[in-house]
């Protein structure tokens, strides 16, 4: 897992488990991740694979009964897992910001959007009241909200989904964070607005040198945006590489299957491939490789041994015991 450039965040062996009445849910089970300065890391995976829990673990907002058990999260050479709540509060929104999936419900309905952005600024910066409106207008203009002076006096319900997401991004960016965690930022938006928001995020990365952890299940978004990709499945990282490599030379059977299940305009297919089965219940994850029950290449060994994430090429790691065999062998779909 070596890369060019400086690291902003590195996660080592992070385990976040949920202690429910029915048993322990291993939502994140020993993952390693790195995000370079000014880079976008795409974290892909199906629903329930642990992407959001990973994000919440970074800002230490995993709620009861979840608990971070193990590992460390190194952010600008400080271990976030050793911080107390006050220190974390200072980091959240200031150095690490988050934007969420559903912009419709992420704004407080009773205050104007301008108030809310101003508040986000005041939480971490000492800006005199007289200047705060101007800084809000500036941020609004940066995130492309037209007629900013007028609109900041309006309540959230007068904003469309795309505009609300811009407001959320404005709040997240108000203190120039070093890391922006975007948890499915475009999932609930229609396609044209998606594109605008993605362009905005790219612009942010370029203008502010902000690193972005982009969580999505949309491979198209990843291909557009990310510098590096981590494929997550059932609480584990399956494959990690730079974006070109993942799309041109996927090595893990899961990554391959994911890519094959994306509709493409340039290849004629009658039916899209699907991955049989569903994401395993994490209360009782399968033994060995977690993808083994659904994998077309499963052998006995896959059900017994947990494959380690091995760097097979510079910057390209895969967690599969049989990755050297599967190139020569056709999958036999033994589910």
């Amino acid at each position: 897992m070596t890369e060019e450039g400086e690291k902003l965040l590195s996660i080592k062996d992070l385990k976040t488990h949920f202690f429910t009445e029915r048993g322990v849910v291993k939502a994140v089970d020993g993952i390693n991740l790195e995000i370079g300065k000014g880079k976008i890391l795409g974290l892909v995976g199906e629903s329930g694979s642990g992407k959001t829990v990973t994000a919440l673990s970074i800002v230490r907002l995993v709620s009861y009964p979840g608990k971070i058990l193990n590992g460390y999260i190194l952010f600008q050479n400080e271990n976030l897992l050793e911080k107390n709540e006050r220190e974390m509060r200072h980091i959240r929104g200031n150095r690490i910001s988050m934007i969420f999936q559903d912009p419709m419900s992420c704004l407080n309905p009773v205050f104007t959007v301008g108030d809310q952005v101003a508040e986000a600024i005041r939480l971490h910066q000492d800006i005199p009241r007289s200047e705060i409106e101007q800084s809000v207008v500036n941020i609004f203009e940066k995130v492309g909200i037209p007629d900013a002076k007028k609109r900041l006096k309006e309540h959230p319900h007068k904003f469309s989904g795309g505009m609300r997401q811009r407001v959320m991004i404005a709040m997240a960016l108000s203190c120039h964070p070093d890391l922006l965690i975007a948890d499915e930022p475009t999932t609930n938006l229609d396609v044209t607005i998606q594109l605008q928001i993605l362009n905005l995020m790219r612009k942010i990365k370029r203008d502010f040198k902000t690193s972005i952890l982009l969580i999505t299940h949309d491979l198209g978004v990843i291909a557009e945006m990310a510098d590096h990709v981590a494929v997550m499945y059932a609480g584990k990282i399956m494959e990690y590489s730079d974006v070109v490599e993942v799309f041109s030379n996927p090595l893990h059977p899961y990554t391959k299957a994911l890519l094959e299940s994306v509709p493409r305009l340039d290849v004629e297919t009658r039916r899209l491939r699907v991955i049989p089965g569903t994401v395993p219940e994490l209360l009782n994850p399968p033994d060995g490789c977690r993808f083994s029950p659904r994998c077309a290449y499963t052998r006995e060994v896959c059900r017994k041994e947990v494959p380690p994430l091995i760097e097979i090429k510079r910057g390209h790691s895969v967690a599969c015991l049989r990755m050297n065999d599967i190139d020569t062998e056709r999958g036999d779909n033994n589910v």
């Binding site: 509060r89 419900s105 009773v110 309540h155």
Partner: protein, 287 residues
């Protein structure tokens, strides 16, 4: 998302809905009339309510619209001044119970866990004690009489309902995305409570507080009626209780303060109902 859209309706929208509701408007007008009466009581009452101005037990006439009482005081003036007592007790008790109830409910609802358990048990203890007996007990032990004491007394048990409402609403509000987003931006507990949870819970608090006022006013009358009020004060309950002994031949003594209590209580109830219909998101769309 639909739930959110309902919540996001503005106060001007609420006002429009409120205006369309006849009962609410009538309630509001009654409350307004009572409040104005109380404020300008010295101006509109024909006599000093404590002065003996005529012979005792004069029936209603041009000079004394509501007649005179057992010692010859003007009943109209006493009813007018009584509105001050009623409002003072009603508004005072409601205000105190809002402050205590909201504070209590916020802490229990926001922090949850053991804190919540402990606080709710305190609440339940107060709820299982029959409040009327509690009032009688406290009044007879401490010998406190005036309307201001009655307001405190009524608030003593009156806050529990509000605490429970605020607590439950906080449970759901603190799981809402905008709260989570704010926590993600580094907002502190106090900040979350005062900027995210309470403002979004104002509507039910206002409704319950208004409805409570009616209850408190009736309760004050009841306490005064059984002789727990200050016998020298100008209160509708006391007038009722003093009029009781003459009820056979001086009907006006009990009738007018009774009507005043009734109309005021109905006014606050209508107002509360109307507020609920226009503010409560769960009822929105049903009317």
């Amino acid at each position: 998302m639909t739930q959110f859209a309902q919540r996001a309706v503005t106060w001007s929208e609420n006002w429009r809905r409120f205006r369309k509701n006849k009962a609410a408007l009538i309630g509001g007008l009654i409350v307004l009339a009572v409040v104005i009466t109380a404020i300008i009581a010295p101006v509109i009452s024909p006599y000093n309510p404590d002065d003996v101005v005529a012979g005792r037990l004069q029936p209603p006439s041009n000079k004394f619209w509501f007649g005179t009482d057992g010692i010859g005081r003007d009943c109209l003036s006493r009813v007018v001044w009584g509105s001050r007592t009623a409002l003072m007790v009603g508004l005072g008790a409601s205000l105190i119970s809002v402050i205590v109830g909201v504070a209590f409910g916020s802490i229990a609802g926001y922090y949850g866990g053991i804190i919540d358990d402990a606080m709710m048990r305190i609440c339940e203890i107060l709820l299982v004690i029959p409040s009327f007996f509690l009032y009688i007990l406290i009044v007879s032990i401490f010998r406190v009489r005036g309307p201001e004491y009655i307001a405190v007394l009524l608030a003593l048990t009156g806050w529990t309902e509000l605490a429970k409402i605020v607590r439950v609403d906080f449970f759901s509000l603190k799981e809402r995305e905008f709260t989570k987003a704010a926590i993600g931006l580094g907002a502190s507990d106090i900040h979350i409570i005062f900027r995210y949870l309470l403002p979004n819970d104002l509507a039910p608090i206002i409704v319950v507080a208004t409805m409570n006022i009616a209850g408190f006013i009736i309760m004050e009358a009841a306490l005064s009626f059984i002789g727990l009020g200050d016998p020298t004060a100008c209160s509708w309950g006391i007038m009722l209780s003093q009029g009781r002994q003459y009820i056979g031949y001086a009907w006006w003594l009990a009738t007018f303060p009774g009507l005043a209590t009734f109309i005021t209580a109905v006014g606050f109830n209508f107002l509360g109902d109307g507020l609920r219909d226009s503010l409560d998101p769960r009822l929105r769309g049903t009317i």
